[in-house]
């Protein structure tokens, strides 16, 4: 059971809300217990085999954290290192050694240690690393380091266990510390449910139909098909959109669930397709991971390299920035999985970012000298091409298939031309445009067009509901007020309709799964 499952939408979540809000009126202190129990049940239902592992790791990490807060500075460093190494080793074992090709939750072999990737392990481990780092810095600050239930809830809060967002402990501590201690208003419930509904619609009404467009093309290429120009573009663009709506939908659902129980989870997406250049894209895509990497990886590396590099201050900064960027993004690619396509995508992202940094330095100096800047439209097109390219690397079975798709984009793979596209467009009214081994449905193509318009033109969840006070949110645009906001009542009607349609889709039983739960 995941958050877009019909059982969750129709039973688990309503029952939880009922219990939470009823108990909240009588004994607000029960909030943590209720949410912790719900999270445990949720994980046990979603991935029964690995639930004991997650429980044991949580308790062990809490114990290490407790020891850390009581230790001297030097010993605290050792405890921190031990905790981080232990968790990274656990992640490496499951992700890269045990069953790198398996989907989360699958357990091909039974035993004391269940193989297969535990659901949400990557995100869980990032939170644990954050716990060790932040608890050491703030020690013995008021972070609730001695409160096991709150720490356990922070670790396994169920909407985040699927695909984040990554919640730094330093951001979460205050919210978790006050959870159940202040009353929640109906407004928070209304906004939370609306955000959840928007996320549900993104996942089930946009991302899943987009998957029916992208998957046949990528699967055919994996099976040896040489994609034509139109096929490659349709498949690649559909996957780029699918990845965005799937991931941002899951993130919005988590955000909404958090709001309904009084937790302000971090913002993960802020209309990334509206970004005008690469650096801006990183500020809008998977924001919580970028912040995590910036905090715990990039900054320490930057400081380290700048301290030891040679040259002038500017040169040392440049070297340090490039090194930190390259290492961070390569590790992020590796974090996604052991496949060569992931590692390569991370490396390429790093190299691209370094190139952009150099270009930005050069552009800044050119601007100072009165030179012309790269037009925004050109940089947007280049950015979208990069997004499509990385999407191909992420989705392709292997490097050969990725190469075929990239060649297909250039019209260099298989039969050239757009002959496949025209009949497909001509049969939009039908169910199957290709109705062959690559049955791209006409309805999926329509959804792709709608999703493109939404990605480039529609306001995002943060803008609609003014969630600017959440971690990771940008500064309010145009002086907008912060704090959750209930928009016009037509949004309520839209949200209700979204839930109904999504429920029908979920009951239908052809859910696509979560892309990021596989990472």
């Amino acid at each position: 059971m995941l958050t877009y499952d019909a059982r969750f939408i129709a039973l688990f979540y309503p029952l939880l809300l009922l219990l939470f809000w009823m108990a909240g009126r009588r004994s607000p202190g029960a909030a943590v217990s209720i949410l912790l129990a719900a999270s445990a049940v949720f994980y046990a239902l979603a991935d029964t085999a690995h639930a004991p592992l997650i429980a044991a790791t949580t308790i062990l990490n809490f114990a290490i954290g407790l020891a850390l807060t009581r230790a001297s500075d030097r010993r605290a460093g050792h405890w921190t290192a031990a905790g981080i190494v232990l968790n990274v080793a656990c992640l490496a074992f499951y992700k890269y050694w045990s069953a790198p090709g398996l989907s989360p939750g699958t357990t091909p072999a039974a035993g004391v240690i269940q193989t297969g990737l535990p659901l949400g392990l990557s995100f869980f481990i990032l939170k644990q690393i954050s716990w060790f780092s932040d608890i050491r810095t703030a020690r013995p600050g008021p972070l609730g380091a001695r409160d096991l239930p709150r720490f356990a809830l922070y670790s396994i809060f169920f909407p985040q266990m699927i695909a984040g967002p990554v919640y730094r402990f330093r951001d979460a501590a205050a919210d978790y510390a006050t959870l159940g201690k202040k009353p929640l208003g109906l407004s928070s419930l209304a906004v939370g449910l609306s955000v959840f509904a928007v996320g549900l619609a993104k996942k089930l009404l946009l991302a899943d139909p987009l998957g029916t467009v992208a998957s046949p093309v990528f699967d055919a290429v994996a099976a040896g098909h040489d994609p034509g120009l139109a096929e490659a573009w349709i498949g690649a663009w559909a996957y780029s959109l699918q990845l965005y709506f799937d991931f941002s939908g899951i993130s919005d659902m988590a955000l909404g669930i958090g709001l309904t129980v009084g937790l302000r989870l971090p913002i993960n997406f802020y209309s990334p397709f509206k970004a005008r250049r690469g650096s801006e894209f990183f500020d809008r895509w998977h924001i919580s991971l970028v912040i995590f990497v910036r905090t715990y990886l990039f900054s320490p590396i930057l400081r380290l390299v700048r301290r030891h590099a040679s040259g002038t201050a500017a040169v040392r900064t440049m070297k340090a920035t490039a090194t930190a960027t390259l290492v961070s993004l390569t590790l992020v690619g590796w974090w996604h999985g052991a496949k060569a396509t992931f590692v390569l995508s991370g490396l390429l992202a790093g190299l691209g970012s370094v190139a952009l940094q150099l270009a930005a330095f050069r552009q800044a100096s050119t601007k100072r000298r009165g030179g012309a800047r790269t037009p925004s439209s050109v940089s947007r097109v280049l950015l979208m091409l990069a997004v499509i390219g990385f999407g191909i690397l992420f989705r392709s079975q292997d490097l050969r298939a990725a190469g075929e798709m990239l060649l297909g984009l250039a019209g260099l793979s298989g039969a050239a031309g757009s002959t496949a596209l025209l009949p497909a467009l001509g049969q939009l009214a039908g169910e199957s445009a290709f109705h062959l081994a690559t049955p791209v449905p006409g309805g999926g193509l329509l959804v792709m067009a709608a999703a493109t318009a939404i990605a480039f033109g529609a306001p995002n969840t943060v803008q609609i509901f003014r969630l600017y006070d959440h971690p990771g949110a940008p500064q309010p645009e145009g002086g907008a007020r912060t704090g959750a906001h209930l928009p016009h009542v037509r949004w309520a009607l839209a949200a209700g309709l979204f839930v109904a349609l999504a429920l029908m889709q979920a009951v239908n039983g052809d859910l696509q799964g979560t892309i990021y739960a596989r990472f």
């Binding site: 040896g224 298989g414 169910e431 081994a437 209930l486 009542v489 949200a495 209700g496 429920l503």
Partner: protein, 479 residues
């Protein structure tokens, strides 16, 4: 709350209303139209059609529908396979039940086969297209695991509403019965595909001939055991056919390698003994077994799906082929459990041909004896009662007999079948004057229009096994 904001209670109420309204509308529509037979199936029931507009759109892509339909079917031949079978064999549901299922996996086919085997009159021949997929896809497995269709599927599933709307349109449009799927759901492949198909076909090849997953042999071994059980309990013949390959693909070494590998795996898993699976390679990679019809590109809907002309040729070839024991793979009629016992199988003289003549009372020769016990011979004979005139008898070599029901001029019906006495007697009998109507059908009778059946037999029999029928003055098949 800010002044510009709506009241949270009003907001939540509006949201609940907007959510409940479409759900209630969908539930009302689906209850009324009842597309999956949730109540009484008042407008529509899952039907044993080749292209069932509802069945193929369900989350299990029609497996449950086929299971149900196969269990209700009376056809002596069960065709199992993927869309190639679905498209390529056509078929009259009364003669050969085509349970081809788009992207059907071996697991799906086994469910249908098992259901058919439980019938009072199980199929005599299971013609199984060599599976390219063994395990069902995860989405379909989920549907099967959760016992589709459940009440929530019937009330709220998107597809249920989709089909209900179509049914409503048909009903309001004057036709209470929905049309075939191609009329309004899914465009069927055209006879002549445009050139775009050519490129996509490459992907088809890759998919169609992709080797199975690692545990393929294990899976096939279990599947074989299941089929063998069916054979032992019903006496049916089970034939696995590697279907023809498009002539353009015959030169593709990858396809040849994969087909060879699959055949090799299938043959290894086919078992031994009387109930071993007969694996027939009609792919065309072996030149001597090529079907001329399959070599004509005009007989292909695309490079994966052959037209019914090729399917008919496949059927003829299969019926003519010899099994491992040297018997013809015709519509052999064996009583349930007969395969467990040794039988006298005297070789048949080559000139022997079945002859149809009037069968007088055949007391005790086949079917039930006077005490109602099943004496073997097949479903036709089961309902034979002695002392009733008006039957027909066909004579012919072993294996040349066929099953079917003929109706005499007096309105009574009889069974066309082969006697269990084999060639020593060579009397393929029409199982005598039988009861007709629901009672007989309840006993497992195949209610076939006789003329159609005879036509089908003539069309599908191999030249060496063709059946000649002589007109009989006083007992004419009913047209």
């Amino acid at each position: 709350m800010r002044a510009s904001e709506p009241a949270p209670a009003r907001f939540l109420g509006s949201m609940a209303f907007a959510m409940a309204l479409p759900l209630a509308a969908a539930a009302g529509l689906n209850l009324t139209m009842d597309p999956y037979g949730a109540a009484l199936g008042r407008w529509y029931r899952l039907r044993p059609l080749i292209h069932d507009d509802v069945a193929d759109r369900t989350p299990d892509t029609g497996t449950a529908a086929r299971v149900n339909a196969a269990a209700r079917s009376r056809a002596p031949v069960l065709l199992l396979g993927t869309s190639r079978t679905q498209e390529g064999f056509g078929g009259d549901p009364s003669h050969a039940f085509n349970a081809g299922q788009a992207a059907g996996a071996m697991a799906d086919l086994l469910r249908v086969a098992e259901a058919a085997a439980q019938r009072p009159a199980p199929p005599r021949l299971y013609l199984i297209e060599a599976p390219t997929t063994l395990d069902v896809p995860s989405s379909r497995a989920r549907a099967a695991a959760k016992g589709w269709p459940r009440l929530d599927d019937r009330l709220f599933a998107r597809e249920a509403s989709h089909v209900s709307l179509h049914l409503l349109g048909h009903t309001l449009g004057g036709g209470a019965q929905p049309r075939m799927r191609e009329d309004f759901f899914m465009p069927m492949p055209l006879p002549h595909k445009p050139s775009r198909v050519e490129r996509l076909a490459e992907a088809q090849i890759g998919r169609a001939f992709e080797p199975g997953p690692t545990p393929a042999t294990t899976f096939l071994r279990a599947a074989t055991a299941q089929l063998k059980r069916i054979c032992l309990s019903t006496g049916a013949r089970i034939v696995v056919v590697e279907p023809p390959v498009h002539p353009d693909v015959l030169g593709d070494p990858r396809a040849k390698a994969v087909v060879s590998a699959r055949l090799s795996v299938l043959r290894r898993a086919s078992g031994s003994g009387r109930c071993r699976l007969d694996v027939v390679d009609l792919s065309g990679f072996a030149r001597q077994r090529r079907l001329p019809e399959a070599l004509d590109p005009a007989n292909w809907l695309d490079r994966l799906h052959f037209a019914p002309a090729v399917g008919a040729a496949v059927l003829r070839r299969v019926l003519a082929a010899k099994d491992s024991g040297g018997s013809a793979l015709g519509l052999l009629k064996r009583r349930a459990g007969a395969a467990l016992r040794p039988r006298r199988t005297a070789p048949c003289p080559p000139r022997a041909r079945p002859r149809l003549h009037r069968a007088r009372a055949l007391p005790g020769r086949a079917g039930r004896d006077g005490r109602g016990r099943d004496r073997g011979g097949g479903p036709g004979e089961r309902s034979h009662r002695p002392g009733r005139p008006g039957g027909l008898r066909a004579r012919g070599p072993s294996g040349a007999g066929a099953l079917g029901r003929l109706r005499g001029a007096d309105g009574r019906t009889g069974w066309l079948g082969r006697s269990r006495r084999q060639c020593g007697n060579r009397s393929a009998s029409l199982g005598g004057p039988l009861g007709s109507g629901p009672a007989a059908r309840g006993k497992g009778a195949y209610a076939l229009p006789a003329a159609e059946f005879l036509t089908w037999i003539r069309r599908s029999s191999a030249p060496g096994l063709s059946v000649r029928f002589r007109p009989i003055a006083d007992t004419q098949p009913d047209h």
